[in-house]
């Protein structure tokens, strides 16, 4: 493997670690300085490795260079004199400062960085951008591709977000238990959004989607890997991510088009990830807490099973709970889907019609699905509305396929044995 292929992969995994450790160790107020040092380190690596070959332990090489660059930087700035030395008074010789990129330091630093990036002074969109940049090492182009937003928009959002952090007297430091408790919900939500951004991404690229999902899992693992944040909620979120990711390969075909749940090739489901999901779901069940992540993880769990005749009853009850905990149109529609699975499509239609979601493409897609086999004209009508309303190319293709199926002679058994609506 040449440096050209090696570096991007390393960049992803190591960049954020270097930034996090630098920020924490040197109390950098300005993430940019740490980010600059990390970038320079990679620049040096790409030049040096191209000539001399990749060192045996690339990560260790990067850490050494980053550490030296950081020290150089500190020597040449007043920050060292005025701020750092105060913090290092106990340490006579600062050059021997314990500044290791060991596993514990990296883990602690990344945890602190996650909490910093998810500061509630910023909107959840801004938190997402910051997380992608600082913690996942995404470039501006990659962020804008992943979120399907203009680069200029992302750039401005990031600038504002950093300004807000600075005004908040931003510091990467060890977190107190109180701080962790009060901000934990925001952090979990940010990682949940990051994951969903990947899982339900508007982007057609499987690569981008996988990347986002895996980054979310990696960061969730930082949470469960640290005693203070290894809570049932964090484990539930991680379980949810594992169950959902197990279907990443099966959810799209070679052309990148979405494959509906009931048409997925189940042999493509990643059993190892399902096992991991089971493991974290058990971890999440310690204690009495029942968060929305627990409910969503349990729903995702039932989707990985096939045999239980009560499966849809369980799923419906979980959706009944989830919608009470937190309303969202998607949950409301998925609940109707489960309801129809238990009580039949006609009852499902009645339940759907109570919802005030007539402007949603998903709503009409669901009704199209439920009317299929009961009333083909109504089914077509709703599918066509859904096509008009959807903004996603992939979704439109799936809907058109359904319409195509309805136009010729009705199917032999028109009651689909679908397994889920949006999953």
């Amino acid at each position: 493997m040449g440096p050209q292929e090696l570096t991007p992969h390393l960049f992803r995994t190591e960049y954020s670690k270097i930034v996090a450790v630098l920020c924490r160790t040197f109390h950098f107020r300005h993430i940019e300085i740490a980010a600059d040092i990390a970038s320079e380190t990679f620049l040096k690596a790409s030049e040096y490795w191209a000539q001399k070959g990749v060192p045996e332990n690339p990560a260790a090489w990067l850490y050494t260079v980053a550490r030296n660059k950081a020290k150089d930087y500190l020597k040449h700035t007043a920050i060292f004199e005025t701020e750092i030395r105060k913090g290092l008074m106990h340490d006579e010789s600062w050059t021997e400062l314990d500044f290791d990129f060991n596993h514990q330091t990296i883990s602690d630093s990344q945890l602190a960085m996650i909490f910093a990036a998810c500061n509630p002074v910023n909107s959840s969109e801004a938190q997402l951008c910051l997380t992608l940049q600082i913690l996942c090492g995404f470039s501006l182009v990659e962020i804008s591709n992943a979120l399907l937003a203009k680069q200029e928009t992302i750039k401005k959002r990031l600038q504002r977000a950093r300004e807000n952090l600075r005004n908040e007297n931003f510091q990467i430091k060890s977190l107190s238990e109180d701080e962790i408790k009060t901000r934990f919900e925001v952090v979990l939500r940010a990682l949940y959004l990051l994951f969903n951004e990947g899982y339900f991404s508007k982007s057609n690229s499987l690569l981008i989607r996988k990347d986002l999902c895996l980054e979310a899992i990696r960061l969730a693992l930082v949470l469960t890997g640290n005693e203070l944040t290894d809570t049932p909620e964090a484990n539930a979120l991680l379980a949810l991510m594992c169950f959902q990711s197990s279907r990443l390969e099966a959810r799209t075909d070679e052309s990148g088009a979405a494959v509906l749940f009931d048409e997925q090739d189940r042999s493509l489901w990643d059993q190892a990830l399902i096992q991991k999901g089971n493991h974290y779901l058990i971890q999440a069940s310690k204690g009495t807490e029942l968060s929305k992540y627990h409910l969503e993880a349990a729903i995702a769990y039932w989707h990985t099973t096939t045999a239980d005749p009560k499966k849809w009853q369980h799923i419906l009850n979980l959706y009944n709970e989830l919608i009470v905990v937190e309303y969202s149109p998607v949950t409301a529609l998925n609940r109707v889907f489960a309801y129809a699975k238990v009580y039949g499509n006609d009852n499902g239609i009645r339940e759907a019609e109570k919802l005030n979601l007539k402007e949603s493409g998903y709503f009409h897609g669901l009704l199209g699905y439920l009317y299929t086999g009961l009333d083909s004209n109504k089914a077509l009508e709703h599918y066509r509305k859904a096509i008009l309303l959807t903004k996603s190319e992939a979704e439109r293709k799936v809907l058109e396929k359904q319409v195509f199926r309805l136009i010729p002679i009705p199917e032999k058994d028109s009651r689909h044995d679908g397994d889920s609506f949006t999953l």
Partner: protein, 113 residues
């Protein structure tokens, strides 16, 4: 959006007794409450009320313990919903599973103090 209190009243003795009936009843309640939440009209799921209770009256303060077993319509629980009008709230109340057991629902608009 206004807020409405739904008060569920029924005869405790008419409530389901077999495990199957009880399970079916629970399912109906979950579906009904879930259905209200799915319309984003649930304000507070509320609570069931325990059978034991007292009624305090003027004077010596006659406290009666659990008179409700004798009364046909005990208050069994409550839920808070959001709705634009009393008519709509009433419509929502019509789906309540309490009617399966001869109960009734009182719908009252909340007058915020």
């Amino acid at each position: 959006m206004k807020e409405f209190l739904l008060v569920f009243k029924a005869d405790y003795n008419a409530m389901p007794k077999t495990p199957e009936e009880m399970q079916a009843n629970t399912q109906n309640w979950m579906n009904w409450i879930g259905g209200i939440a799915a319309q984003n009209k649930l304000s507070d799921r509320g609570n069931r009320l325990d059978r034991a209770g007292t009624v305090v009256k003027k004077g010596d303060g006659i406290i009666s313990d659990g008179p409700y077993t004798e009364i046909k319509e005990s208050i069994m629980g409550y839920t808070l919903i959001k709705s634009d009008s009393l008519d709509e709230a009433t419509e929502i109340a019509k789906g309540c599973p309490i009617f399966n057991f001869g109960g009734e629902v009182e719908v009252r608009e909340i007058n915020v103090m």
